[in-house]
């Protein structure tokens, strides 16, 4: 049986045209997906059974015991941290926020080690954006800034950006200009019309120089900025102003470098400035397929998109204080639940060492280094393949993910709900 128009549960592109061939309850073929998506949809090593740690080793157990242990850890903690939520559906996030309220915890997503600075930049300036289809149909200039879709979002250029075709862009790549700004000549840069190599940590300076040139104050900037010749910046600024519809698509190059949210703030300001001359939009190239969705759910449920402290019953938001890395770095969190993420791999080593000191609950279909540190491990169905639900594409468009095979495993949402039930029962007992 072939199932059409399946959504890919990998990156923020959230491609929704995948064909999946299923035989006897197993995925036997995947068409149209990129290597990243295909690899995930075809499946790989899974956590086989729930596990709990005794005397330093993980032992297989029942779901009931795993839920009990998880509930006791969360209920017993003074400052529990509920983290992850990027590779699961919005329905899980809703339950997770309720659980965080119930245990007086802090809830945070992988955004805070990813595009969190972009969100802070948006808080400062707002974001002039669009859906990806708008870029596909209209954009004649595309700027990838600190983004490398050739490796991180392989179908982006074909489906939505440089190589796509649309109403006002019938020639596709030939009718467009592509600029890449990066600290190294990436695979994306190799296909650009113009590549601007900047020194690491100088995004802010380069954007500032571009803003000055765009606003007609180019005479005030020096001959080179962060290793870039003024002539190159002038050429790029000229291309921006000459475009009918320009777009800046930025990646972690901007958010992970010196300046972080200030880089984003400046880039958003550049785009606002450019709208005085022509049409321009800007967008963050979000990594995991539903990291954007957690931000949306968290905003409409708590008022804030990430790093929300619920210990006082009322939501409190202050990244830098309430983000996962801050809480762990200060050795403040005394228990951690990780849902659909792998902080052991993705946090700085020093932060991971703090994680190793506290009880950790892992909810995930796949084993990963977080498993090595977990005290309770609860395997789940893979969202988008074995469970349905909602996900938000990098441009904020929500789509419904399909279930194509039945794993018999509980979904992330069911696991969180089971833990929530037990936490409430523990509360009643007290």
């Amino acid at each position: 049986m072939i199932i059409e128009d399946v959504l890919c549960p990998f990156c923020g592109c959230l491609c929704d045209d995948i064909k999946v061939e299923v035989e006897e309850g197993k995925v036997v073929g995947v068409k149209r997906a990129c290597r990243l998506g295909s690899s995930k949809i075809r499946g790989h090593e899974r956590i086989r059974a729930p596990m709990v740690r005794r005397d330093g080793e993980l032992f297989e157990t029942t779901y009931d015991e795993a839920y009990d242990r998880a509930a006791r850890i969360l209920k017993g903690a003074k400052r529990p941290l509920l983290y992850g939520w990027c590779s699961t559906v919005c329905e899980t996030a809703k339950k997770g926020i309720l659980l965080a309220e119930e245990v007086g915890g802090v809830i945070d997503s992988t955004a805070t080690v990813c595009h969190g600075p972009s969100i802070i930049g948006i808080e400062e300036k707002g974001l002039s954006g669009s859906t990806l289809g708008q870029v596909k149909n209209r954009a004649d200039l595309i700027i990838f800034w600190g983004a490398n879709p050739a490796e991180a979002h392989p179908r982006h250029t074909m489906r939505y950006s440089s190589n796509s075709t649309g109403m006002f862009t019938p020639e596709g790549r030939r009718g467009r200009k592509v600029i890449v700004v990066d600290v190294r000549k990436t695979r994306t840069a190799k296909n650009a019309d113009k590549f601007i190599l900047i020194r690491p940590g100088t995004d802010y300076e380069v954007i500032s120089a571009l803003r000055m040139i765009v606003k007609g104050k180019g005479d005030l900037i020096p001959e080179t900025v962060a290793g870039v010749n003024k002539a190159d910046l002038e050429e790029a600024a000229g291309m921006m102003k000459a475009a009918k519809f320009g777009s800046i698509l930025f990646g972690l190059g901007m958010t992970h470098s010196r300046g972080r949210y200030k880089n984003v703030d400046n880039a958003l300001s550049l785009v606002a400035d450019l709208n005085g001359f022509t049409k321009f939009v800007v967008m963050a190239m979000r990594g995991h397929y539903n990291v954007a969705g957690f931000g949306q759910v968290c905003a409409w449920e708590t008022g804030y998109p990430m790093a929300v402290d619920l210990s006082r019953g009322a939501p409190y938001f202050n990244p830098g204080e309430t983000a996962a890395c801050d809480l762990l770095g200060r050795r403040e969190a005394d228990a951690m639940m990780v849902v659909a993420a792998d902080p052991a791999s993705n946090f700085p080593r020093e932060t991971v060492e703090a994680m190793a000191e506290i009880p950790v609950i892992q909810v995930d279909p796949f084993p990963n280094p977080t498993t090595f540190l977990a005290d309770v491990v609860i395997p789940t169905a893979v969202c988008g393949i074995e469970a349905e639900g909602t996900a938000y594409r990098m441009d904020g468009l929500s789509l419904r993910m399909k279930k194509v095979i039945d794993s018999g495993l509980p979904t992330d949402e069911e696991v969180v709900e089971n833990i929530l039930d037990r936490v409430r029962r523990l509360a009643d007992d007290n």
Binding site: D16, G126, S130, T131, R159, F245, T278, G303, L310, R400
Partner: protein, 561 residues
Amino acid sequence: MIIEGGIVYDPINGVLGEEMDVSIEDGRVVEESRDGEKIDARGMLVLPGGVDAHAHIAGAKVNTGRIMRPEDGRRGTEARTKLLRPSTGYTVPNCYAIGYRYARLGYTCAFEAATPILEARHTHEELEEIPIVDKGALTLFGNNWEVLECVRDGDLEKLAAFVAWGLRASRGYGVKVVNPGGGEAWGFGGNVKGIDDPVPNFGVTAREIIRYLMRANEALRLPHSVHLHTNNLGKPGNYETTLATLRAVEDIASSRDRQVLHVTHMQFSAYGGTGWRDFESKAPEISDYFNKHDQFTMDMGQLIFGSATTMTADAPLEYGNARLLKAKWSNHDIELEESSGVVPLVYGRKNPINAIQWAIGLELALLTEDPWQMIMTTDHPNGGPFVNYPEVVALLMSRSKREKELATLHDLASKRSSLPSIEREMDWNEVAIVTRAGPARILGLAEKGHLGVGADGDVSIYDVNPEKVDPSKEHEEVKAALAGAKYTIKGGEVVVRDGEVVAVPQGRTYWVDASVPEDAEARVKADLVEKFAKYYSIQMSNYMVQDAYVTRPRVIRAGVI
């Protein structure tokens, strides 16, 4: 349940301040209820549950407002309780706060004013999280490529079929049109200048778009009329565009017992002047026109001083706001369908423009003679948050309150508007019309806005005695009573007691399923298949809002067959 001895205003059923009982059983008003709870409402004002026909409460732009405004989130913080989820926000409250605050005001129904079809799933995700109130969403059609092409080709039948399909795809309730043609022009940074300015690349005009959508709306006999946000909204001198728009559609007849066109948040469309320097009110001209044309309705879009978050599908307007005010600016264009923008701002009493805007909203409400034509809104949160409705009602009921406020404003509010000379003070019957009966009738919600047998058991009871309190003088008392209902009853259940939320049932979501001839639908589908293959960034099969997102639907049937 029996609500005993209250002083009831139920304009739809001609009840004008009578002391009487209201009985509810199985969620609906009945002749007589024998058992159940008794509520003592003696000496209190009893009204049908409030209905908000136009507010921005759910969807992508509302959430954009939350995300870009953490400073607003902090303004409305209330901790969770055993019963309630936490609340945050003033102009952009979280979903729970929206439900709780409406209920505390005695409102039981609220409609989201603008959702693009492509992002309707998101709108419904948020609507599902808003507790207590019944709700619905109006669907945006005024810049949709399929609409523009049907208008260009003069194909009314196909347009009607597309509107029916779009409502189904978005689980939407009615046809919203925002700055028709301007949203498409904004795709390349442009706008249209008036109703006869051609839309780039499509060659149609706003006049044609509005006329065709109204004709399609009436052909489908939809419960609500077209709901229009005019071109040039927010600009000095725009009253001429507004009047030209109305004159352009005078010949179109309504297919149902309701208006043929609702012009929304009129305050923003009733401006005179050639620029901000000679900016002035043209509310008298607008109201005068409405007084002579009873086929049209409007809502106030009243301005509230203090913080607001403007959010609209009129994206070029928001860009203009951001430039003018040097404010934070978010924009979001939606492929083939719409554009939108969000800009936070603060309305100041001493700002001459804001002061005049404040006066215009009140002038419109008081100069329009028939309250059924003019309902109360603040275009939440564009004019200000809906929690200020008691303030607006107090202003409508008390000339002395208006004078007191005017004295604190920039003096141009008095010089460039007619407000100081307006004597009218609304009575409770008129207030009941502009806050519940009128919005329900305008939306075409047969079971809302009244307390006749069969109506929804939605009742608000306020601790103010209409026979003893003189709203003209005791406006503070009126405002306080309306701000925290003594009781709000939703579907026969007490949800608010003494201003506090005591129960959190889940409301229903209205949407309209309109039938059209099969061949017309087939022609629309053929167009859409091509559009999805070439232009949309998603597959057609993933487009329509799935049933999972509307768990408690109230489907209203309409259509041509």
